[in-house]
């Protein structure tokens, strides 16, 4: 499993990536593997999954709200700026 994650990363390097999304997607896949198996999230029901989901949800809120600011700057002309 660890080797799988390693070779995933290594094969990705030799291909010569040109898309940031691919890099982060592979990283996310590796992280999901580690969290699910080593941290046993896949094995435990109930509160643990709620906690993990909550953390990811809050992270998502932070990202979405921050980018909703940065991406929309300049959409509405404002006085003096």
């Amino acid at each position: 499993m660890v080797l799988l994650a390693l070779t995933t990363g290594a094969s990705f390097l030799s291909l010569g990536p040109w898309n940031a999304v691919i890099a982060l997607a592979i990283g996310a896949a590796k992280a999901t593997l580690i969290v699910a198996v080593f941290m046993e999230v896949a094995y435990r029901r109930g509160m643990t999954r709620v906690l993990v989901g909550t953390g990811l949800f809050w992270l998502g809120v932070m990202v979405v709200l921050t980018f909703s600011d940065y991406l929309t700057r300049g959409w509405i002309p404002s006085v003096g700026k």
Binding site: M1, V2, A5, L6, G9, A10, F12, L13, G16, P17, W18, A20, A23, L24, I26, G27, A28, K30, A31, I34, V35, F38, M39, R44, M47, T48, L51, V52, T54, G55, L56, W58, L59, M62, V63, T66, F67, Y70
Partner: protein, 209 residues
Amino acid sequence: MTDLDLQPPFDDHEQQRQADWQGLWVFLVTEVLLFGALFLSWMVCRFRNPVAFTLGAHQQDLWTGTLCTAVLLTSSLVVAFAVHFAEAHRSAATVACLLAAAGLGWLFVGLEGSEWWHRHLVGLIPGPGFAVTGPHRSALALYGMLYLTMTGLHGLHVLIGTGLLLGCVGLARRRRLHPITVTLVGLYWHFVDVVWVFLFPVFYLVGRP
């Protein structure tokens, strides 16, 4: 190696174990938000300075980064073995795995340190001695500071993790190590590994041609 004694508020061992487990996960959620805020900073800065951050990624030594990833992933595997041996009450095997994982953690910190030193020698550390010129100077300084802050904070967590692992070894020597302790320290170590799994593509892979 024995199981932890039942403490007052819990009705049985399983409930206590669940509470220990979930308590650490609450802590890890706060850590997710801590590192998440830094990753968000990287996202915003990259969004606003795409060219400079691509240049910054090219300046990284890819092989050191890959080696660091391999070291940490292996250490996570070793810690998983330590947890397995601890739950099987095999003290000697547990201690061996904990020592190996701590050693790998130190190796990782050494590799990071050599990477930082190399950047210092080349003049990529922002501040006096920053050797970058051209239109992207300030954005590359931003990239450099983000890199130092995020890998530095992560490296600090790795050092704390190795301290916890060695603490478990110390407890085992005095025959006071419980399987749940090894399990929870292992959980922390896996989290630190997950953070690096995201750090590595963010600074080393994104933006490569």
